[in-house]
Structure formats: C-alpha cells, structure tokens
Amino acid sequence: MTEQFTQQVTFYTEDHEWVTVHGDMATVGITKYAAEQLGDVVFVETPEVGKTVKKGDDLAVVESVKAASDVYAPMSGEVVDTNGELADAPEKVNEHPESEGWFCVIKFSDGAETEGLMDKDAYFEFCKGEA
C-alpha cells in the first residue's frame, strides 16, 4: 500500500501478461509473445467493472482460432475500466497487444505485489527459455 508509482512502470508475469502501473492504477494486457503464440484472437471476455480480484484469480479469457486461454489477475484490487473496443475489434490484441489491445484497469490494493514480477529484460530472457 505504501509503494507509490509516481512514474509509469511496466512489469511482466510468467503467464505472459503485461501490467503497467501508475499511481494506484494497473493496466493489464497480454504480451506480444503471448499474442503470437495464440494466433488470431477472435474474442476477449473482459471482467465486469467493479469486480474485485485477488492476485492469481481468473481475470479475463482470450479466445483465438485455436483455443480459449485464461488470463490471471497480476495484482489484487478492483476492476475500474475495461477495453470496450475489443468487443467489436478483438484483432487489436494481435495488432497492438501492448498498447491498444489492453484488457482492463485494476485499482490495486498492494503495490508490493509488483515485487515478484519481471522487468522487460528479465521477461525477454524468460521467453527465450519458453521457446
């Protein structure tokens, strides 16, 4: 709770999500690596605004032509916004996974939860190990 993010910082999870924190808000999406692995995204089920999640809970579902995949909450808190544009344009997840293809914003309750997450360099190395 004490940790403040006065500047925007992006972290990565082992489940291939990115989370950009600023103040007490965390914007969440899936990484370019994840989007490439999934193939063409055809549907994203974003959470309801107002939903409270704990770190690791199911947050969203992304459906590609291949399969349905769960997206987990990278931080605990309340969902305060979702990307409504994905309803009609799920392909944004493939086109711009780490910008326009964001899933939702969580007002997080404990900034210390970012401590177990990776920075960009660590995530890059992590993906090399996955390949």
Binding site: G39, D40, F43, E45, E63, V65, K66, A68
Partner: protein, 385 residues
Amino acid sequence: MADQTSDDLKKTALHGLHVSLGGKMVPFAGYEMPVQFEGVKPEHLWTREHAGLFDVSHMGPCFLTLAEGVSEDEEAHKKIASLIEDLVPSAISTLKPGQARLTVLLNGQGGIMDDLIITRLPDARQNGRLYIVVNGAVKDQDWAVFEEKLAGRAVLERADEGHVLMALQGPEAVDVLKSEIPGCDDLGFMRCMQAEWQGTACTVSRCGYTGEDGFEIHIPAAAGEELAAKLIRDERVKPIGLGARDSLRLEAGLCLYGHDMDQSRNPVEADLQWVIQKSRRERADFPGADAILKALADGPAEKRVGIRPLERAPAREGTEIHVNGEKVGVITSGGFGPTVEGPVAMGYVRADLAKPGTQVELMVRGKPRAGEVAALPFVEQNYKR
C-alpha cells in the same frame, strides 16, 4: 490423452518436411503432427481459395481381401462386400468399380465405433479386394474388429506404416495434381483411380474432409515424400496443419469421430442416416439394426445439428445448450470459422428443438450467450459432382 514425450510418439514419413517448413509439432492420435505452419486462419482461407496439402498419414488406410484372393469374377466383389456388410450398414455390394462410400462401423447396439470410407478398387481384375480408410485414433480397434469378425474369410493388410496418405484440397487442387497424376481431373467425387507417379503405384481418390474439391493420395513413403515436397513447391499449394483441418471440416458440417459421434450415438442421432441405403434398411441385417430402425421410424431422442453462436464468443466442445433455463443439449465441436467470419459449432439437442432457427442459449463459462440452431454446412460444399 496422457502426457507423452516426443520419444513415445510416432512420426509420419512427412515429419521432416513439416519441420523444415516451420510446422509447430504437437502430439495427436499417437503421432507428432503439425498443428499449424503460418497460422490457422491464413491456412484455412488459403485452402478455400487455392490448394492446401494435409498430411493424414496418421490415419488408417488398409486393404481387405478375400482369403481365397482376388478374381476377375464379379462374384468376388459380392463376396467381400457381404463380409464387410456384416459390420457396416451401407450398401457395399452395389459399389461400381472405383466407387467409394462413407459408412460407419457399428457396435451391437447400433452405436458408432468409427466412420470410414470403403472403396471398391477400379481394376476389375481385383474384385474381392477393398480399400478402406479408418480414423487414426481408433485404427487399432477397427482393425482388431475386422480381423476377429472376418477371421479365415478375409485378410487384412495394414497400409499405414511405410506409406504416406496425403490430401490436396481446394479449388486449385485439380489443376495442381493433374500434371503429376494425369487423368485425376476426370474422376468424379468419391471416385478412385490407381495411378503411377514416377514409377511408383499409388491410389488417388477424389474426396477429402474440408468441403472443397480435392484428392487423397496413398503412396509408398519414399515416393510420397518426394511428391509432397514437389507439390509444396507449387506456388498454389501451402502446407496446412491440424488446426485449419478442424476449422475447415467444422464449417463444412463434417463430423469428427470421438467428438461429434461415438459409441453412445447411433447414425440416426448423428444425422448420418443417409449412409444406410434403402436395401440395407429393408434387409435389416447390420449390427444394432433394431435400435437404428426404431430410431428411424420413431425419430431419435436427440439429434446432431449446427449451432450458430449469435455473439462473438465461440462455444467450444462441452458447452451446455439451454432453452428457457433448461439443459437441452451440448456442443460437441465449436470454434471460429474463418470463412464464415464468426463462431460456428455443432452439437446435440432434443429432437423437437432441431429445426434451424430455433433460439437457444449457450452457457459459455456460466454466462448465457444467444445462439440458434443452424442448417449444415455453414459454407457451400464445392465437391466435383
């Protein structure tokens, strides 16, 4: 399927070609097979527009021959046909030379053990010998049934190992293949020819499982590898993985064994009653005939139908189908149809709800999503009639 390391998995003769073309390899029916090359959607669309090459060597091609051997006599065909007709409900005796027919292998209750294609060889000197292709996942089961039920009367020759079975599918398949296999363009749908490719004998059938015109080629492994590599070099042809094979067959309304039908379903429920010709219904001499003829007369309790999700969320296998909050069926295959540009599915519903246009709710992750019963296929079939 239990976790399998790649050491346990069999490889087809085209495995090296798939890897060299960048195929993403996954375990499937005991084999390591390519699920995709450039991606499910582009491969799907390419096959509908041009020509796609599919490795289906994991399937179960075989030959079934009378114990006393082949003959020029028409009676030899009648004899082998009557043997296999003890196991399947289709008319095999009336097949013309070179004609193929889809049928189902039935258990004693009329449940579907597999779907298979039985072909009468085109060479009239080979009466008494049938070319049969069964599904890869159940080929050992099917072949055990043939050997047990027909012991002493017919001889089974497995033709999977040491061979390539490949499918070339799509509107440009015929133009591509006719320069390699002259005369294949004269074949009609579900017709077969025996040919030679660079001195190697092969069996070429005008059939497939994409809803498009195309061919299946059964050929010894060494020549098959060369032929596949040559076909891929043609700019009209791309290699296609299992992912697009599934989306293509689903849009075409074609059943996948183990999903859209299994031993708990009879051909009437599976909407495959057309495989039972009139002569067989009259004779009522196939396994489970009582149950199947009763379902034909009274109508089945449940029926396989197309399901069109009306929202964007795909309804995958296992999704419950509800009407007014009551469960009335289940999705057995579902995904996204790249040609339809939307989600498509198949499933079973109570027979009184099987009419196209019937509104249903699809319980996707616990949330009801609008859907409707739809006529199959979802895309027009482009067979060479």
